[in-house]
Symmetry: D3
Subunit: 191 residues, 6 copies
């Protein structure tokens, strides 16, 4: 069987109840268990914090659409060369955006993607947080405000980029493998 992590992957049976419940819930919804769940479950406390953080950023109300949040994930994960996150969140971006092309575009070069100028500005900020956060200054905030983003939206953009800075590094370190299912999700049936 193909290895999905450098580290031992727990079986559902050996997991704490809350983690098992979370995994069964996602399996119910997605039809399979994304490897990020079982590979990070090797460390239950870190698992709980990771997904609590994820949910706080990705499921909260706010001006950013679900698709826009996934654009941030895919663009910054592309900048960090993170295979798991590009493939898994690329699939989610296809589904939320109902656009089968967008994820591949954003992953390779968001400047060439089918985006609005507002979305492009959003990704410019996100990628700067991902790769050069020490240089973030007032001008970066002003640029986003000029596109109609409120300061709370800017926190959302930056925080998602920051959270996936963590996520990308964990996936790269443990060689987390994307499930085969992700590669095709959200792509139209071939005629």
């Amino acid at each position: 069987m193909t290895r999905i992590s450098r580290y031992p992957v727990p079986s559902l049976a050996e997991l704490p109840e809350d983690i098992r419940a979370r995994i069964l819930e996602v399996q119910e919804k997605a039809g399979f268990v994304p490897n990020v769940f079982v590979t990070l479950a090797h460390r239950p406390d870190e698992f709980r914090a990771f997904f609590a953080y994820h949910d706080a950023l990705m499921l909260k109300e706010g001006a950013l659409s679900k698709a826009e949040r996934e654009m941030i994930v895919v663009a910054t994960s592309g900048a960090n060369d993170c295979l798991y996150c590009v493939v898994a969140h690329g699939a989610i971006l296809r589904i939320y955006s109902k656009n089968p092309l967008l994820a591949d575009q954003v992953a390779v070069n968001y400047r060439k993607a089918d985006l609005s100028p507002r979305q492009r500005a959003m990704l410019t900020f996100a990628v700067k947080v991902a790769v050069d956060s020490a240089a973030i200054d007032d001008a970066d905030f002003d640029a986003l405000r000029g596109h109609g983003f409120a300061d709370e939206d800017i926190w959302d953009i930056g925080a998602i980029a920051a959270f996936f800075a963590l996520s990308n590094r964990m996936a790269n370190m443990i060689s987390m493998r994307p499930n085969d299912e992700f590669y095709l999700l959200g792509r139209p049936p071939r005629s």
Copy 2:
């Protein structure tokens, strides 16, 4: 209609006969005309040289399989953030390798892709040619020889990386857009 190049795109009717013939031939075979043909046809002489070079490297006999050549294209185009080449040659790589996952893996991070150590060494050399060719030295050749590559194979690897250094820059400069068809080619039908 979506723009596929910053530059005028000639219609088939206005093209020189040899170029039109080449384009009709690829359309016959692929079922559509990849945008690289019509966008580069804006400059017929450069078109002819471009495809003569492409064919000399990609269609010649040699120890590298067709899939391996496409791996080189995809890995170096990923390093150069070239949307057209990653998407179009990713499709070709899926077809030649009969592996629907490999292209996305190689585009994001070839070190995590389902490759043999020999193929990984091949891509390490190709990416060095792509991004740091001035530092290529005897040790790089020795590493490939240690994996069984003949010197002529090494020329092939480096020359493909070098040719796509050109191709990636042209595509990035003119904002060449990949055809929508490429995104799905070589992916299995969804069940």
Copy 3:
């Protein structure tokens, strides 16, 4: 009054009970409230996940000493030019290591710090996770195993580096200001 964040900083009174309790607890122990607590409390759900993650990595049992964990924080935060984390965790490193010089050394250039070869190897890995995680491979794991680190220790090292990749980016984005108290903590009284 000096600004400690680009974003509104909640008063203790307006915070949810659990967050206020956590803040009062740290104030009790440290004698002041580190700004990371009140600035991140602007987003209660993210606050809870952030500190749950922090505690899971920094307070857990394990082979890495508390000082070694702080070395990882300071070295990677130095690599990311994060003022808050270098100053605040530099103070904690001075206290845990009982070495008033070590934090400044590790922040500027860990290669010149008063460390064992084992600790230097640990920081080489941590900094690679921080700045080039896509290139992490088996050789990096082998190097650490050669210094006696178990695979679970390596997860700890990498996960701390990954968590502070997030933390550094948040602090840089919101311009989190270190409390003045940190600059002197753990330094010996001047004679």
Copy 4:
């Protein structure tokens, strides 16, 4: 005898007729055979495509002077640390510009060279194509238009930079050695 390539260098006698003719022609004109001809002749099909491409860009009519085209070659080859191209095209630049100093200036730092603002803008674009083509955007085109370049001129600039991205990588990979003659060509006689 000094090696001029890592690969076998064919003698004139063993070359296909068209390639031998081309080489004899250049020898007639230059008084010697530049090593790029005999070293690349190791692969006749690639040779033909290479020089067809070269000629399509460097010999065509257009608004860029011959000297300006060579400036692009020298500046981008300098950015790529390519010994052969800096030395050989530096010689050609001296001849076309009738300026014995310009080539060395452009090779080291075009910003300090004796150029017009228009030429400096041209090289800024060329070097961006050479080293960061994924970031090329509308603003880069507008900057050149502001200096009076037509869009077809911009294609020329970018295409020359792209072609020498290929050429530099081939020369670096095979360790192509510049002929001794180039170092002095176009320099005034010493008094």
Copy 5:
């Protein structure tokens, strides 16, 4: 005893009279001998030139305050990861600025330091001289003039950055160790 240099460190007795006098003078004033004096004294001629240069830049009259000159040293030494210069000149900056926090701020990220816009512009120029001097152009001079700097002030800023480019490299090469005393100098007594 802790090593303060990779190279032999002369005793006062074996030094030429002028160098010994200089060292005794600094010892008299500072209360200890900074290691830069005894480690560089290994090469008396270079020592004399080094300190003549240092004094010409750091002790001369001019519009830059002594604290501002030290800011330049600390910011550029931080950019060069030079432990000796960050720690030693950080101490001097604390003393001259009478601000116990400023040195650590400037060393980690001068953009987040308690500085005036004029001082921030000064450090932006200094860091560009330190890390990308080939790109210095008229716009950089204009930016400083816009903050009221005379051209002679700009020379001072750039020359200090240039001199510490030398100093940082010497300290890094010989592993020059900062005296323990520096870490605490200029910090307030702990209450």
Copy 6:
């Protein structure tokens, strides 16, 4: 008249006696006054320290030949894109090495230059001091010792690289222009 510096260039008449004497001496020997002398003479004290330092490194006895010292200057100045130093010291390198090709080779890519393995190792160290001195460690010293360099020779190599880190930055900042004479010096008469 072409500008040779952004700053005022003093006439010989207005210079202090010792500086005038030095300049007349070099003029006597070289047949012209290299611009570094008159442009840096704008600041007499810095001038004196600069040339004292230069002489201490470049004129001293030692195992490195004069040509080898100039190789270090040219290789590191190439890495720093410093036009003045590449052109002026390239000329001196041609003269000392009696090799008219070497300077251009070393300036563009020392790895492809006609050097011994020992000299190549010397330049690898020098360039590391120039561009990544914080990472210098024992292994770098061991590599040079393996080529027969004594530790004092290594100091010489590193100190020359460090001094020209200063020199390159000064020349880049003030836009120091190389004298036209340098471009041809040391090149053979054209037949």
